[in-house]
Symmetry: C2
Subunit: 228 residues, 2 copies
DNA sequence: CGACCATTTGATATGGATCAAGCGATGTGG
DNA sequence: CCACATCGCTTGATCCATATCAAATGGTCG
């Protein structure tokens, strides 16, 4: 949680100020992305990498949204995470990717060679520290995901909405880039249950749905209470 | 997967050979545990650390079994992991513990100051590398756990049994240190469902239950197939 | 032997899945 | 510019896997 906020702040900060007058490099990995990263565009639903491919690169979202996922033999899909602008992804594990990654909307990402980062980390401990920090943050995220998956449908949906809310600082409205199917596969539910639950939350006056993709969180406290 | 095997092999290796004639320190963190770690005993059900406590130490299981868990406000408990001899735990996140840890049986662990390890990592990159590797391994474990939680009861139980089997090299029988309640809380099921599922697998001749805690895996292939 | 705790087994209830239909927005061709 | 196909979403009816409630069994320790 803390880490994510920090990373996002940094990237946002870098975006706001002139890119030349950098401070005394407090986040060398972030800097490495900005200095060495190659910008790549992906269209809606394009694959960024596939499960079991060697994890050669790290990625940072510039614009758009990315989903990582895994498909079981019988076709069930589980979404591992959604990555928004500022988020770094692709370092789930050591050698090969555990999940596949796709662009949800048209997306631009910065790409950097993992080997370049590793080499940097070997010389500069602060890079190694940040790598560790990012991995630990992914771990925390996965652990929170586990806690989400043992809850009721209402609690899962409420949790998801709050998670999304946390990522758009200072607003009480979220514009979802992903479909109901994506949400369902993230929460381990069906689209029907997600839809019904949202309708129910609307009836409870906890949220409002100006459009199906835009959600106004009328009563975040009520959602937080549902979230156990 | 690879990492865990490595860690276990190393610790087992260290146990088998005379502790003085160490090879050229290929696993400095493991060595640090053996050299600097303080041995601590915990009795059955004793708390090792609590959720939200500052994560001051790292732990390595010498004997016994440990569970990490989180309890929701309404009392539902989710077990995050079981740690067996040779496993290192306690580094789930950066600052504070995300989970609590308890001894399942009488347990002996080696304890080492996290700050000592961090200091070591700053000087010796191979320590940082191993820390990263262990964290990445925990992440993979958590991700597999997520995949388990979206499956049917049969698939979860089969997955759990195979997971346990993988940790007792070269045998087709496991002696479970944990109760049905622990298993249920790990798999997001009830004890009744776990019990019924085991009975069903026994009827299918996939397993045998000489005693309730001892499970013979008659047909691991069948279980692996269930595991999707 | 008797008390206690873990586990199994049985009967019933229920939350969410599944199957199915309707609706609204977006886009396309006539 | 409108009829119509398409796609994503919602709503309704029914079903089923697992939870819940309840009781029986078995193993362990005083």
């Amino acid at each position: 949680m803390l880490m994510q906020t920090t990373v996002q702040n940094v990237s946002h900060g870098a975006g706001r100020r002139a890119p030349i007058e950098l401070p005394i490099a407090p986040h060398p990995l972030t800097d490495a992305f900005d200095l060495m990263g190659a910008s790549m565009p992906f269209t809606r639903n394009a694959e960024i990498y596939g499960e079991k491919e060697p994890a050669e690169y790290l990625y940072k979202v510039i614009s758009g949204t990315v989903r990582t996922y895994k498909v079981l033999t019988d076709g069930r899909r589980q979404i591992g995470a959604f990555y928004l602008p500022g988020d770094i992804f692709g370092f789930e594990t050591d050698a090969d990717h555990a999940f596949s990654a796709e662009a949800i909307t048209n997306t631009k990402v910065l790409v950097i060679k993992r080997s370049a980062v590793t080499a940097l980390a070997a010389r500069d401990y602060s890079v190694a520290e940040q790598l560790l920090s990012l991995t630990a943050h992914e771990l925390t995220r996965a652990q929170n995901h586990i806690m989400l998956l043992i809850k009721t449908a209402q609690e899962r949906v409420a949790g998801f909405l709050l998670e999304m809310l946390d990522r758009v600082q200072g607003r009480n409205e979220v514009d979802l880039p992903m479909s109901r199917q994506d949400i369902a596969d993230y929460l381990g539910l069906t689209i029907e249950t997600v839809s019904r639950t949202l309708t129910h939350l609307e009836h409870c006056a906890a949220i409002a749905l100006p459009t199906s993709r835009r959600i106004l969180l009328r009563d975040p406290a009520a959602l937080r209470q549902l979230n156990s």
